[in-house]
C-alpha cells in the first residue's frame, strides 16, 4: 500500500460549455482500494474514461508504475494492466459468455482453451459461469460476473469498477466484496465508484471526492460517517426526507394473481402476483434488475394488457384498459427509462408535459391542444422540482439525467394521482435531487395517494416504504412491514445469492 501504482496530476478535460474535470490529482497505491465519490455530473465517469484511454485529457499527466502513462486507446490501457468493469454493462446480449470475454481481451487464447480458463478463474474466485451460455439469458448478477472474469483473465494491476453493486442482491454484494478483498491481497489496486456510502466505508482504504469536476477533498472512509461523506459531495447539509405516521385508508389498487407474458425476447414474465395498496401507503418493491420490474410497471400502466379482473382499481376491473383510460381514473405511472419511455427525447418539456398530463390537467379540449396551459403546467413542474433548465421549450434530450428524472416524476406527482406507480424514481440521481423526489412521494402518500415504488436501491425503499416485498424471476415474495427488516431477510426475499459462492482460496 505504501508504493504508488497510479498517480494522476492535474488532469483536465473540458467539453463545450462544461468542464468535466478541472485539475484533478490523486494517487492510488499498490493493493489499495480507492473510492471515487461525487454526485452525478461531478466528473467521475470522465475521469475513469481518461484512465482507461477512452477519452483524451486536455491537460495533466498520469504515471503508472513509475512510467509516464498516456493511453491512446483502451487496448493500450489493457496491455499495461488497467481493466475496467463498466456501469452500464459493456456486454453483447446475443453472443455467448466466452465470446464476450474474448472481445474484452487483447490476445485471447483459442476458444477451447478460453472456455477452460473461464471455468478455472470463475471457480477460483467463486463466480461460476458457463462459457457457452448466451449472455442475454443471464441475470444481472451473472452478467456482472462475466465482466469481472473478463478483467481477471488479464491479471490487471488496476481494476476500475464503476458502480458495480447497483444491480446486485446484498448476498451478491458480499461475495463481490470478498472477491475484491482477495484481489487486493494479491496486490491488485482497485478504483471503486459508487453512490452507496456504507459500501465504501466497508471496502475502501482511501477516497477522493469530486464536486463539479474539481477535487474537493479526501478522506479515509472507515473513519468517516456516510453522512459526512455525502455532505462533502453535495457541499451543503443533507436533507433527510421526513413523514408523519398515519393509518392507511381503503384499498385503492389490488392485483389478483396477475400473470402476463413478457413482450420482450429477453424479458421476464409475471407469475401470479397478488398485492393490495391502500390510500396513504407506500409499498416498496425491491428486486435485482430484470426480475419483472419493467413488466409489472407495464401491466399497471396499461402498456401490457391482462385479464380485466387481475388488476382492480377501487374495486373496478381495469386489467383490459389501455393507458389513457387508466390515467383518466387516476392510476399514473412513471417508468424507469427516462429517455424514450418516460419522455420523448426530441420533444420539448412542454410537449412532454402534454403527453401524459393532457387528460388530468385539462390541457386539451375537443382534440385541440391548449398550449398556454400546457406551458404553465411544465413551468410549475420545473419550479416545484427545481429542474435546472433554461425553460420549458428545451428538448428533453438536452437535460441531464437527474434533471429529467425530476421532471418526469414531478409531472406525474402534480397530476393529483389516486394511485402512483414509479420504477427506479431516483436512478442515477444525485443525493440532493433524490431527497426532493422521495419527499414528494412521501407528501403524496400523506395526502392520501396509494404509492408503489419499484427500486433497486434498498436504502431508498427502507426510507420511504410502509410495506416491503421483492420481485424474483417474475414472482412476488411475501409482503412484510418495512420496519425491522434486516438486510439478510431482504436479500433472501430477493432470491439470495443466485448460485454465487465465496472465493475458494
Amino acid at each position: 500500500m505504501s508504493q504508488s501504482l497510479l498517480s494522476i496530476r492535474g488532469l483536465t478535460k473540458a467539453y463545450p460549455g462544461v468542464v468535466a474535470n478541472d485539475d484533478v490529482s490523486f494517487e492510488i497505491g499498490k493493493g489499495e482500494v480507492h473510492a471515487l465519490l461525487g454526485e452525478n455530473g461531478a466528473g467521475k465517469s470522465t475521469l475513469v474514461k481518461m484512465i482507461y484511454g477512452l477519452v483524451k485529457p486536455d491537460a495533466g499527466e498520469m504515471v503508472l508504475d513509475g512510467r509516464s502513462y498516456v493511453p491512446a486507446e483502451p487496448s493500450m490501457a489493457r496491455q499495461l494492466g488497467v481493466a475496467m468493469v463498466f456501469q452500464h454493462f459493456s456486454l453483447f446480449d446475443a453472443l455467448n459468455v466466452a465470446e464476450n470475454i474474448a472481445l474484452g481481451m487483447e490476445n485471447p487464447p483459442r476458444p477451447r482453451d478460453l472456455a477452460g480458463r473461464i471455468r478455472e478463474v470463475s471457480e477460483l474466485y467463486g463466480l461460476p459461469l458457463d462459457p457457452f451460455r448466451t449472455v442475454g439469458d443471464l441475470s444481472a448478477g451473472e452478467r456482472q460476473r462475466v465482466e469481472i472474469v473478463r478483467c481477471l483473465l488479464q491479471d490487471p494491476k488496476l481494476l476500475i469498477m464503476d458502480e458495480p453493486t447497483s444491480v446486485l442482491t446484498p448476498q451478491e454484494v458480499e461475495i463481490l466484496f470478498r472477491t475484491l478483498m482477495k484481489l487486493r491481497d494479491e496486490g491488485t489496486a482497485i478504483l471503486y465508484i459508487s453512490h452507496k456510502l456504507e459500501e465504501i466505508r466497508a471496502l475502501c482504504d482511501g477516497a477522493t471526492i469530486l464536486r463539479l469536476g474539481k477535487k474537493v477533498g479526501t478522506c479515509v472512509p472507515k473513519e468517516t460517517t456516510a453522512r459526512a461523506m455525502a455532505e462533502m459531495m453535495v457541499g451543503s447539509e443533507l436533507h433527510t426526507p421526513s413523514r408523519e405516521a398515519k393509518a392507511p385508508g381503503a384499498v385503492r389498487l389490488a392485483l389478483k394473481g396477475l400473470s402476463v407474458k413478457s413482450p420482450g425476447e429477453f424479458g421476464t414474465s409475471l407469475k401470479g402476483i397478488s398485492l393490495e395498496v391502500r390510500a396513504g401507503e407506500v409499498l416498496g418493491l425491491a428486486g435485482v434488475a430484470g426480475n419483472g420490474q419493467d413488466e409489472l410497471l407495464g401491466a399497471l400502466s396499461g402498456e401490457i394488457l391482462s385479464a380485466p379482473a387481475m388488476v382492480e382499481f377501487d374495486g373496478t376491473p381495469v386489467g383490459g384498459m389501455g393507458p389513457m383510460a387508466r390515467r383518466r381514473l387516476g392510476l399514473l405511472t412513471g417508468p424507469e427509462e427516462r429517455l424514450g419511455h418516460a419522455a420523448a427525447p426530441d420533444m420539448s418539456l412542454t410537449e412532454n408535459a402534454l403527453l401524459t398530463g393532457a387528460e388530468r390537467r385539462g390541457l386539451m379540449s375537443n382534440g385541440f391542444l391548449k398550449w398556454g396551459k400546457a406551458r404553465s403546467f411544465a413551468e410549475e413542474v420545473i419550479a416545484r422540482f427545481d429542474v435546472r433548465t433554461p425553460g420549458p421549450e428545451v428538448a428533453a434530450r438536452a437535460l441531464s439525467g437527474g434533471n429529467l428524472q425530476k421532471f418526469v416524476i414531478g409531472r406525474e406527482v402534480m397530476q393529483n394521482p389516486q394511485v402512483l406507480v414509479v420504477n427506479q424514481p431516483t436512478w442515477g440521481v444525485d443525493a440532493a435531487a433524490a431527497a426532493t423526489i422521495r419527499q414528494a412521494i412521501l407528501d403524496l402518500a400523506a395526502g392520501g395517494t396509494a404509492v408503489i415504488v419499484i427500486s433497486q436501491d434498498l436504502d431508498e425503499l427502507m426510507e420511504i416504504s410502509d410495506r416491503f416485498a421483492a420481485l424474483n424471476e417474475g414472482r412476488l415474495s411475501d409482503i412484510r412491514p418495512a420496519q425491522g427488516l434486516t438486510v439478510d431477510e431482504i436479500g433472501l426475499m430477493m432470491g439470495g445469492s443466485h448460485g454465487m459462492e465465496v472465493a475458494h482460496v
Binding site: 453483447f92 474474448a102 472481445l103
Partner: protein, 306 residues
C-alpha cells in the same frame, strides 16, 4: 403442355446461374447488416456495378477486368452511403433509398454509350475429366468462374463470422455499438469496411447480370434483384447458409417457371412470374418464424462521445 421438354439437369445447372446475382448481393448485404448498418441501396449498387462492369469489360475486352471494375463501381457508390451515414450521421433508411435512386440514374447516364454493345464472352470452366461426367459434370463443373466465386464467398463469410476474431468483432459492433466502442473497437472503421465489402459484392452481382446472364446493357436491367437480396438477408435470419438456400430456391423457381411458361402451362403468365418471389419469401418466413436474430444495433446511428 409438354413437361418432357424440361431437362432436370439443365434446370439445376441454370438455377445456379440464375441465383448467382442475388447470392452475391445478399452475402455482401449480410455482412453489412451484421455490422449493424442497414443499407437499402443494394439495387443502386447492383445497377452501378452492372454498367461499370459492362463498360470496363467492353473497353478492356476482359470479363475478369469487368468484374473488378464492377466491384470498384459498387464499392465507389457505397462510399457515398459511408459519407452520409457514418460521417454526416444521416438516417440510414433514407440514405439507402436515395442511393438506389441515384445509382439508377447514374447507371443510365454512364450506359448511354453502351446500349446495343456486346460484352466479351466469359469462359466456362472446362475441366478435362470432371466436366465430361454425366449429370454431375454439367451441374457442378461447367459453370463460369463467378458461380464458384459466389459459393466460395458464402463459405468464406460463414467461416469468418463463426471462427475468426475479425468476425466476432464485426458481430459485436452490430450487436451493441456502444459496448464495442467502450471496449476500444473502431466502430466506424469496421462499419465502413463492411459497407465497402457489401458494395463490391452488390456490384459484382450486378455485373453478373449484364455480362453473363443477359448479356447486354439495358437501363434498369437489375429489375428489383437488389430488393430481393435485401429481403433474403432478413428472412434468412442473417445466416449465410440460409441465404444460399434462399437464393437457390429463388433461382430454381425462376428457372422452373420460365420452363413451365415455355411448356405452355395453362396458368396466366403473371402468376408464374410472381411465383419465385412468393415462394421464396413464404419458405423463409416459415423457417425464421421462431426467432428473428437481427443484430441489435441494426440501422441505429452511432455517435461516439469523446
Amino acid at each position: 403442355m409438354d413437361l418432357s421438354a424440361i431437362n432436370p439437369v439443365l434446370l439445376v445447372a441454370s438455377l445456379m446461374v440464375a441465383a448467382t446475382p442475388i447470392l452475391l448481393a445478399a452475402i455482401g448485404e449480410l455482412v453489412v447488416e451484421k455490422a449493424g448498418v442497414l443499407n437499402l441501396g443494394v439495387e443502386g449498387m447492383m445497377i452501378t456495378g452492372a454498367i461499370c462492369g459492362f463498360a470496363v469489360a467492353v473497353e478492356t475486352g476482359s470479363p475478369l477486368m469487368g468484374f473488378v471494375g464492377a466491384a470498384a463501381g459498387g464499392a465507389g457508390l457505397s462510399l457515398l452511403f459511408v459519407a452520409l451515414t457514418q460521417y454526416a450521421l444521416a438516417n440510414q433508411v433514407a440514405s439507402g433509398l436515395s442511393l438506389t435512386l441515384f445509382g439508377l440514374g447514374l447507371s443510365a447516364l454512364i450506359g448511354q454509350r453502351y446500349v446495343g454493345e456486346r460484352p466479351p464472352p466469359a469462359q466456362r470452366l472446362d475441366l478435362p475429366v470432371l466436366s465430361d461426367l454425366p449429370v454431375v459434370g454439367r451441374i457442378l463443373f461447367s459453370h463460369d468462374l463467378m458461380v464458384y466465386v459466389g459459393l466460395a464467398l458464402v463459405v468464406a463469410v460463414w467461416a469468418m463470422l463463426k471462427f475468426t476474431r475479425a468476425g466476432l468483432i464485426l458481430r459485436a459492433v452490430g450487436e451493441n455499438h456502444e459496448a464495442a466502442h467502450a471496449l476500444g473497437y473502431k466502430v466506424r472503421r469496421i462499419r465502413i469496411l463492411a459497407i465497402l465489402f457489401g458494395g463490391a459484392c452488390a456490384g459484382m452481382g450486378g455485373a453478373y447480370i449484364s455480362l453473363l446472364r443477359v448479356p447486354q446493357w439495358v437501363d434498369g436491367m437489375t429489375a428489383g434483384t437488389g430488393w430481393i437480396a435485401l429481403a433474403l438477408v432478413v428472412f434468412a435470419s442473417w445466416k449465410p447458409g440460409r441465404v444460399l438456400l434462399g437464393a437457390y430456391l429463388f433461382g430454381g423457381v425462376t428457372v422452373l417457371q420460365l420452363n413451365l411458361q415455355a411448356a405452355g402451362l395453362a396458368i396466366p403468365v403473371e402468376y408464374l412470374s410472381m411465383s419465385p418471389y412468393l415462394i421464396t419469401i413464404l419458405v423463409l418466413v416459415i423457417m425464421s418464424s421462431h426467432r428473428s436474430g437481427a443484430p441489435a444495433s441494426l440501422g441505429r446511428t452511432f455517435h461516439a462521445s469523446q
